[in-house]
Amino acid sequence: METNQYLEIFIDESKEHLQSINDRLLDLEKNPKDLAIVGEIFRSAHTLKGMSATMGYQDLSNLTHKMENVLDGVRNEKIYVDSDMLDVVFDSVDDLEAMVMDIASGGTGERDVNRVVALLQTIENKETAEVKVAGHQATNKTNVGNPVELDEFALAVLEQSSEQGLNNWIVRVALREDCLLKAARVYMVFDVFEQAGEVIQSTPAVEELENENFGTSFQVLFVTDDQADNLKNKIMKISEIDDVHISVFDVDTYTSAQSDRDSPSSLEQEEKIIAKQGAGKPEEQSTAPEQKGKQAANKTIRVNIDRLDVLMNLFEELVIDRGRLEQISNELDHNDLKDTVERMSRVSGDLQTIILNMRMVPIEQVFNRFPRMVRQLSRDLNKDIDLQIVGAETELDRTVIDEIGDPLVHLIRNALDHGIESPEDRRQKGKPVTGKLELRAYHSGNHVFIEITDDGAGIHRERVIQKAISNHVITEEQAVNLSDKQVYELIMESGFSTAETISDVSGRGVGLDVVKNTIESLGGRIEIDSELDQGSIFSIQLPLTLSIISVMLVEVQQEKYAIPLSSIIETAIVNKRDVMHAHNKKVIDFRGNIIPLVFLKDILETPQTLEEDDDYLLVIARKGDKMAGFVVDSFIGQQEVVLKSLGDYLSGGFAISGATILGDGQVALILDSNALIK
């Protein structure tokens, strides 16, 4: 089977299923008795198994199958959910994830999973040993003629109906050998069934029956309040029916028998199952109801982000032409033309909003990996953590989403490692033993805020200052005048760590300075608030989208450049007389601060054409606490522009962070003021 065209869908869906398994496993840990959750996990695993087998990824399918066996044991209450068991399942999910990632990056999805398989096997074997006795009894008790495969949706219906006093029957209908129109008879029989009750399942499936793909008999699982004799008579009235046999279906007996059959005690049996699934047999069990639910839940299609970029580019062309049209219509002063152009402008404005919205994805995509991470970390650190996630539905531009994950991981690790105290410490302080960690996202204006709040030890002001001084981040004189916030922000300076001892957790990865840099490179800000022994809040402010930014357009000689508004404090005009010299550099006094002047025309090596004026036009920009005044030749004004990459060929260039296309169709470069302020 040619599967390449399905690869992308396969990868996306596998990731979704793995994520859902992850999420539900965490739920299960909290409610180990809730078998509905196990059912959901099982279904996801089952679908994943089917998909990977169809796509020919044997290792993936095999491991999923092993995991599924364990889950099945849980579902049938043969295996009890505990942390050890969950650890193994989580481990196998990790392996599955690694395989899917490997496939996504063009690999074969092969992986040595012996260790996890062995562990799963151990859990499973424990189960089989226990089940054997029960299973033995079950086979004696069972009155099911032909084995039926049921999903838990059907089981739930059956259970409920027997609770309500309805009858669950297995009805076996045999047609006469010489029956001519089998499908027609089947239809008539089903007609009777539908009048009398509800058909839960038929063997073979209805479709097969309709295609006359069966011998002379079939059986249905049937829920009704009718009497057995009554039903039998009704069916027998249909011609060409040979025999009707009705037996009682007992859910409990079925469940135990099922688990007995499903948990293969010998390797041989297992191989058969794998072989069967490997051959890409249609998934008869649980997939159907799930897919139905999915369709109802979200009507979406996946679109490659590159295509959206193309759409965006084309749209900008349209906007540029719109600008020209507007100009022409103004010049011609023709009413109809004016009306049309105005209407077109409105429509294209709406269109722009829609295109931008298409790039928005809920931050859930980033957040949903954290519950699992927090679970693992809290176990590693022997801390009790209660993680709350608020506002996961908050939407952000895809480009921001891709970048924000790693900084958040680091901040959460930081909160767990340095923020929340050990259970003993917390008890001594009179706090609840379980530490609270809250992850919150919300919109405000043109920004998204993400807050990470913990109720841990908070930041020790004096200790931070001491460390900062000893690490030469600040001098003692500077330390005196710092506000609390400024002190807290010191921990994000490079080379700073508040950990007294370096733990396994803080040992890996990057420092908070990298977090700060990443966030600032996204055009965002991070602030820290903290109270000793009450906890800390790390608050991140991010722009809604990276693809559109506000800039100040300026002219340097006769070239146009854009300076991101986020780094601009204000613009100023300074007379040459007020320029001072320090260290052979030109500086000015700006509200009590001595700030250097940066002559853009020299740095950008623009061809000199203009005469120098008596006044300098300045754009005062900042990078953290540092400021500088960029000398330009004229201000054009503030504008929203669409950010474009300079492309591979020129990327990494000097002090240029990108480009944009102006209304007249020309390209203007965007200055990276961070690179210009040393």
Partner: protein, 158 residues
């Protein structure tokens, strides 16, 4: 590079002109041929990088082939064109003095480059083709657009 023409007898090339020489590049590398439009200079790049243009919404770098070949920079005339070449899914514009022709050339007619042809360095040249009275120089675009040289320059300045 000759390897790639092993199974075909003919290659379709775009023929263009720089000073008095005629050059050729395989047509599958060419996205489009544009008239000269406004080029935005990008500071501190290699001298032959003329800048960037807005190619239907995509910011595309443009190289002055004359400077690349060590000649004087281009002077815009009525025939000056920007050939948009695609290499490894990357679009780059090449400024040429004129795009003359599309031709089918016999692969057999491609001869290895002589030591020195005209004034340009031989490493850019994949071969020469003699078509009647015309001598076409088949360019090795990978070399002409060498990213390394652009990158090295960044490292020096950056």
């Amino acid at each position: 590079m000759f390897m790639s023409y092993e199974n075909v007898q003919q290659v379709k090339v775009i023929v263009f002109q720089i000073e008095d020489e005629e050059y050729a590049i395989p047509v599958h590398h060419v996205g489009s041929i544009e008239r000269v439009m406004h080029i935005t200079r990008v500071p501190k790049t290699a001298p032959f990088v003329e800048g960037v243009i807005n190619l239907r919404g995509v910011v595309t770098p443009v190289i002055d082939l004359r400077k690349r070949f060590g000649l004087e920079g281009y002077e815009q005339g009525g025939r000056t064109r920007i050939i948009i070449a695609t290499i490894e899914e990357m679009d780059i514009g090449l400024i040429v003095d004129g795009a003359n022709d599309v031709m089918d050339i016999e692969v057999e007619a491609i001869q290895p480059p002589p030591e020195v042809v005209g004034r340009i360095e031989a490493e850019y040249i994949q071969g020469v083709i003699n078509v009647g009275q015309r001598l076409l120089i088949l360019l090795n675009l990978d070399k002409v657009l060498s990213r390394e040289e652009v990158r090295e320059l960044h490292e020096v300045n950056g």
